[in-house]
Symmetry: D2
Subunit: 405 residues, 4 copies
Amino acid sequence: MPANSGRVLLAYSGGLDTSCILAWLIEQGYEVYAFMADVGQEEDFAAAEKKALKVGAKKFFLEDMKREFVNELIYPAVQANCIYENVYLLGTSLARPVIARGMIAVADREGCDFVSHGCTGKGNDQVRFELAFYGLKPDIKVIAPWRIPEFYHRFAGRKDLLAYAAEKSIPVTQTTAKPWSTDENLFHISYEAENAPQTPEQITIEFKAGLPVKVVVPDSSKTHTDPVDIFLALNTLGRKHGIGRIDIVENRFIGVKSRGCYESPGATILRAAHIDLEGLTLDRNVRALRDQFVTIEFSKILYNGHFFTPEREFITAAIPASQRTVNGVVKLKLYKGNVIIEGRESSEGLYDEQQASMDELGGFEPSDTTGFIAIESIRIKKWAQANIAKGQAGVAPKDVYGSRI
Amino acid sequence: MPANSGRVLLAYSGGLDTSCILAWLIEQGYEVYAFMADVGQEEDFAAAEKKALKVGAKKFFLEDMKREFVNELIYPAVQANCIYENVYLLGTSLARPVIARGMIAVADREGCDFVSHGCTGKGNDQVRFELAFYGLKPDIKVIAPWRIPEFYHRFAGRKDLLAYAAEKSIPVTQTTAKPWSTDENLFHISYEAENAPQTPEQITIEFKAGLPVKVVVPDSSKTHTDPVDIFLALNTLGRKHGIGRIDIVENRFIGVKSRGCYESPGATILRAAHIDLEGLTLDRNVRALRDQFVTIEFSKILYNGHFFTPEREFITAAIPASQRTVNGVVKLKLYKGNVIIEGRESSEGLYDEQQASMDELGGFEPSDTTGFIAIESIRIKKWAQANIAKGQAGVAPKDVYGSRI
Amino acid sequence: MPANSGRVLLAYSGGLDTSCILAWLIEQGYEVYAFMADVGQEEDFAAAEKKALKVGAKKFFLEDMKREFVNELIYPAVQANCIYENVYLLGTSLARPVIARGMIAVADREGCDFVSHGCTGKGNDQVRFELAFYGLKPDIKVIAPWRIPEFYHRFAGRKDLLAYAAEKSIPVTQTTAKPWSTDENLFHISYEAENAPQTPEQITIEFKAGLPVKVVVPDSSKTHTDPVDIFLALNTLGRKHGIGRIDIVENRFIGVKSRGCYESPGATILRAAHIDLEGLTLDRNVRALRDQFVTIEFSKILYNGHFFTPEREFITAAIPASQRTVNGVVKLKLYKGNVIIEGRESSEGLYDEQQASMDELGGFEPSDTTGFIAIESIRIKKWAQANIAKGQAGVAPKDVYGSRI
Amino acid sequence: MPANSGRVLLAYSGGLDTSCILAWLIEQGYEVYAFMADVGQEEDFAAAEKKALKVGAKKFFLEDMKREFVNELIYPAVQANCIYENVYLLGTSLARPVIARGMIAVADREGCDFVSHGCTGKGNDQVRFELAFYGLKPDIKVIAPWRIPEFYHRFAGRKDLLAYAAEKSIPVTQTTAKPWSTDENLFHISYEAENAPQTPEQITIEFKAGLPVKVVVPDSSKTHTDPVDIFLALNTLGRKHGIGRIDIVENRFIGVKSRGCYESPGATILRAAHIDLEGLTLDRNVRALRDQFVTIEFSKILYNGHFFTPEREFITAAIPASQRTVNGVVKLKLYKGNVIIEGRESSEGLYDEQQASMDELGGFEPSDTTGFIAIESIRIKKWAQANIAKGQAGVAPKDVYGSRI
């Protein structure tokens, strides 16, 4: 193999796959720098660095990206109530853009000709990483070994990797214990509801412009105001109470259905609280438009790795306007997998108890509603008259429930 | 007051309000027939009939609408995963169209000139009932006393109603104990998670074309296959395990924010199971389009009482095509407010374990993904090149998280 | 009638209706100030002022709102390609918010207790004006005579108005000749295509960030760069060439279908040019999202008079992000009702002739597309396999074309 | 090259490219059958057959697909008002599914192992054909020479093809004169507006359930009722009057911008007439939902070649429900590129002249609108009050028009 194929910055995890890739890239004549991002995962970074250098990396870079992960990805997703296919809070997807940006920055600074990663050729992450690379540096060259036939045919199974690791003296014990989730960042990790405490725990979350700015946890007498601290604290709390675990079959961007088990305790709590506060503070029509367009489209954009694209720029431009009034405090109870809303308050003034009351007149004349209904029914009456003329009035939606009745 | 103002069919609940309305309508010279619909609520219908006749109703009609409520409203809503403002499963809204249709049928048959109801002038139900009336019989005349100034000024508070009831010898004890929810039908009623059993309970639900066709409950050795039985059984199970209670601030159709507490145990279980099975059996693009259009629009239609309208007819026309492949079985565990998905299976064949596996090659060539990413990145690269030319590459979405960082 | 009912600012047109309303308001004891907005209509404002004062207005205010009409309403609508029900460019709707804002400013400054207008009780304009009033000054009181039974029963037809005008010595000749359109502002007025010149006329329009910044008209050796001048010049040109006339049945906000004839020569030219330039300069995904959400929703918002609302604020927040790259020049030919695009150019660089060429390889490897198609077809093949297993492959969409074949 | 590579069905056009591909496939050892579809293009099919056989095809198949093209593709697109990126009526896209289905039918019947086409590796048509093949027969094998490096490197330019044609004795004169459009089917072909007749021509089109069922052309005393005849007649008329030519930059499915010139005279007339009739006969809310979802999504599906997919099946399922009331007659005038609507009538009864009239009371009480506006303004007033409390009332949308004013 030729020496001097160029310099590669490899997204390194410390695990078997990327260690073998590291060795293999060297074998192909590349000079390899290893890159790790700290996005909140529980990881022995020092051990990983040691291992990377032992396997042959010329340099090792560890970047702390927790803050931008929280501020630039997680919190905009919270503001927009992002969710994919009704259930998945996008944990893994959210980390990819910041990791990719960190890599491109190092690659630029360190004069790397290539970036490389250990994602498989069937998953979402390869797409997310590479589209982010190209959206930041369109002429970057990417080496994806799991899509290179000579690599994936050579390493057809785990035992081939183990054999290669042995050959290259790569230590095979994993650097950290990873229980269940295969991708771990600060978005993740909880216990099962059944093993969670019997005693509920109350907390309050304060939002400003749709962003969590203060979390108060009376049981531990703690108050969190730093964005990263807030997220970490909610993760710990949610994890303790068995919140935010899902087991789903999802549709990958490449069109393959796959099973995934995810844990997002902190994000689950924040989403519930944020949605609740929007009930009190967000205009109905803004909420409906935001749900249909921003929530759905931004979620798709995040899942598919289209973060550094013009459509992401476009869709997020509307978020701040939707969050201007989302200010207030939500009181929650965490209990065995449940996030139970106990109350909310805000000084925005869009909710008016007297106006809402069924028992008092305040706010507006009930007779106004007669005019409202009269106008709302104009076109419906015309349609009904036409139906009656055709003998089709009040037809049940047979097509919907089919032959059952 | 003039005798012979005409014949009115009154939606009667047996409670104080509609009993007073009944008496008041008679006072205005109307002949009143009372109408009740059995939509699964726990109600002493015999006592209500006795009371209505005592207050002065000339006739009393009780219609059992449980089957059409389940088949024509609840199950299409399950097929479409309907939900309003992210949290509300639309229980009350779903009952209104069948009740209205039952009333119009009786009004037609019995020669009533008017229909009447006891809904307040600030709520959703007045709109739902009346738009349904007009969508079925555009020339029907509606008497809504709570929007008639002479009525609502006379009965400005509960004590005025009580005084009137005393004057008219209307019994004021409620006919049934109604704990918390003010609107009860078979969609509703559960306990709090904290008082729910410590032991989880497993069940399986089988779906055909997106509709639940069999529920098996091993603990009680029961199997349910009738649509109404299925729903009632799930309601009982959900209620027992504290599932499906919410406390929200919602946006009414008339633009007022109001607080509501709702319970939908059976619907919550069905929704979770149905969404899960769709992960396994529904095409990605159909799911995405259905979520964005049918789920959101049908939910809005149901909430706003637009069931007997052309847009409902239009939007539900697409539901069967989205459910053709939603066949299979979901295994669930109910535990203290949680609906935990434990597994699902289907013979639809859209999920392919080998194809999805990250560890084996089966299904397609990983190298194909290289072409996919190359093509997907064409426009992104062009955009990034233009950004770089303008010095704007990799710009963080500052607008999204504002001044915080 | 009581003197001293308060001070009213009346939206005055100089016509029969608002002159009679002016007199009637005085008759009801109001002190009336008359308000006119110059939004580009051909009007003898001096004559109108004279008439208003003669009829009894205490003061007369003429506000020139052309500039804000163009900058704040027309041009955002151009940026978003706004159109209602596929055909209507929203001319009348666009003028309402600036007129309402002008009125509220004068009402505030002059201490008026009420605002009033002469819109009928069946149209869109009453809703547009009043929702704008309330969105700016929620406690303003509105007098809408055409919805007050004592007014509309008294003036049941034109002859009643004429009799009243005679009684009050109100001159009945219209102050200006208004040919066909009943609402005239600078958005409007053209000739029929058949009478337009036989010779086509070429122009170029330059856009920056989606806004027209320069119009060059070689035939008249003129160049326009001021926003208002640009719009007026395009109106004149379009009018000359018979561009932008429509005759439609539209759906009013109140649910009534009505026939309308509209003319929007300048807006029609700008829309065609802007859409064309977006082909060259706007990313595909941004365009698709913008079309589906911003174009449609902003158009609905404008038509329904929801300009001063949170949803308008939300939806327009995304417009600038969609227009950042819409820079360039479009060359057009105007000819007998046609706006023919002859070419466009831009330095944005998203179009790449070599990459687009079917005849050369440049830009990317055609073999990449093989991977793209392979991945795109994964889910389609799975679905087709399932169809074949059920005997449903290649089924024609019989439901669509029904029983015809 | 190996004999017996298998049997290929080649989509043959009679032109240079597919003739060379035919010869090349034979050179690679394939047995080649040639396939042509008659979708209304002006073509000398007999000459093409003769040529194919001369070049070496073993068999030649000509399938008349005009009727299914019109009935299954064009007319559903008319019913849904399909259009891509605001301007393109999808002519080419619409023909692909029927051609692909015809090919698969012949390939099945004739025992072909492969299908092949001459589409370039950068265009839309390769994707449309192949996704259709896979949606009908997921295990079909496709040979796309313009994506095979050994082919496209060998034939790098037109002169290489000409040299190869000479070598293989392939006649190089094109079989028919093709003026401007490169893809011709019955959707296409017109003249420029400037050369069109000076005299307008009136026609009427009658629709049933949104489908054209009768076209009357007084000038030629002709009436057309057959679906294909109707489309051919409108094409001829539109062509004569210079209707339906566009010159655009579009975004291909693969993300490349490309310039295209298209002509769709008949489709342009039908779209204008259909949209107009919907104004008179379609409910407002159905129209709005259909425009936002079905029109936009079905257009995208057609453009991207996703016809034989579950999402197409889903989205078209709603079309008939949207067209049930679209019955009536539209009167049009064709003149120099313009389709001028002169009138429309229908017996559906949704339009009510008296109700719409601004000059008479009929239909409803204007005072009802007061209640409507009162209710519509509830949330707007609350929002405005909150704005005022924050000093933000009536804020102009500065963000929209930027720094210009």
